[in-house]
Symmetry: C2
Subunit: 252 residues, 2 copies
Amino acid sequence: MTTEQRQHIFSGRPSGVSVWKQIAETLGTEIRDRAFSLTGRLPSETELAARFRVNRHTLRQAVGALQLDGLVRIEKGRGTFVQHELLDYTLSRRTRFSENLLRQGLLPSKQLLTAHEMAAPLRMAKELGLEMGAPVLMVQTLDEANGHPIGMATAYYPAMRFNGLLDMLSDGSSSTDILRHFGVEDYVRAKSQITTQMPSDETARLLKQPATRPVMCVECLDVDMQGRPIKYGETVFCGDRVQLVVTPDSVA
Amino acid sequence: MTTEQRQHIFSGRPSGVSVWKQIAETLGTEIRDRAFSLTGRLPSETELAARFRVNRHTLRQAVGALQLDGLVRIEKGRGTFVQHELLDYTLSRRTRFSENLLRQGLLPSKQLLTAHEMAAPLRMAKELGLEMGAPVLMVQTLDEANGHPIGMATAYYPAMRFNGLLDMLSDGSSSTDILRHFGVEDYVRAKSQITTQMPSDETARLLKQPATRPVMCVECLDVDMQGRPIKYGETVFCGDRVQLVVTPDSVA
DNA sequence: GATAATTTGTGCGTATGTATG
DNA sequence: CCATACATACGCACAAATTAT
């Protein structure tokens, strides 16, 4: 490899660039080239130090610089994890799950977890403009990118207006298509609220992330073009793999 | 108190409404009236069960309903915490710290933590349109609402353009005022990126929140009306007290 | 670091009132 | 009137997480 050779160059005669900077440069390039995307994890400091034939202190300085640049995330006792592959989930007026991922060259997929009718609790009823206890249809899915889970989405639709929606889910039609069947040609995101919390063990298991790492919770309200509430949603995003992005609505 | 009387009514003769629903109603009203805002914490289940003279199971059903409505957050081993007082921090094109809080009737304040010049690391340089290693001015503040810390903000300004900015900080002038001094009449938020993580012990201490609860990190870029980058910022928001809100830009 | 106290989570069993047929 | 099913409420005990000592 060329990497080890740099070290030799420096050893023979000072090149003017400190060793840790050379290593940081090399590792940074490799990370950007998706060299560690299989595990999402860097080799241990000991292994890397051996590979570059430097002391572990030197290597730590290099990796520390990578962390400053946001390329990796160092976790005491666990390891060093590639951070650049954070999936950008854009929150805009026209937020759509599939479009959002396809734009980044990722393959979106969903797994249906549960779907049933229930009574709306207070807050949800308010958001949807219903009476408390009014029937709503709950649809829970596991959202994936390239087959890896990125979030668990729970959507609530007014049962009154979307009667029969649950039967259409098995067909695999997209939610946009299903809504169109009910006369909703288009809809927009009226509001998103973002909080953070620790996942339940069950959620962590579903998202395939450690229960010691936090998740982001996005509560949102979608309305049709007449401003009528269509869907109230709660999505739990995997904190390790997802980054929410807010930009002024470029798409009109 | 009237609360205990309800229980008596039920004991003597069924009122038609289940006990746990009555208790949930009562507690919900008290929470909305800021009855527990001193500690932000509900009495223990044992205490509440004694107060309402019901079994702990019955009380738990009531409190569980409050959690479904988003009024409280239950934490195993810690207690039950009032959740409604989440501060809404709006992320929009015209995001301003002070305006954001004043709109909710909260008193904004800032404490200067550190301020010095440094070399821009890779990512920041890219965002600000600078060469890597170019000098930037770093200003770190603790942001408060009504005297309670809500976030730790780190702002980076190109040193070239804002030479002398650090000296103006002690005056207590708002950052908007300071920027105006440098010819920046107005500026807008170009982008915000939201991630979540666990706080360092130091950060948790500053934010006065448990180190076991996550924080939200917002990276943002502010640009002037000519689209030139003005400020790159990283804010760590207290996950327990802050909720980020994204709405389509109503303010044009 | 170890221990005890506090607090929420869960399971079992029992009893009662209500709705259904 | 009786049988059944379901929701509600109580009592006791222990597990699990957190905090204080």
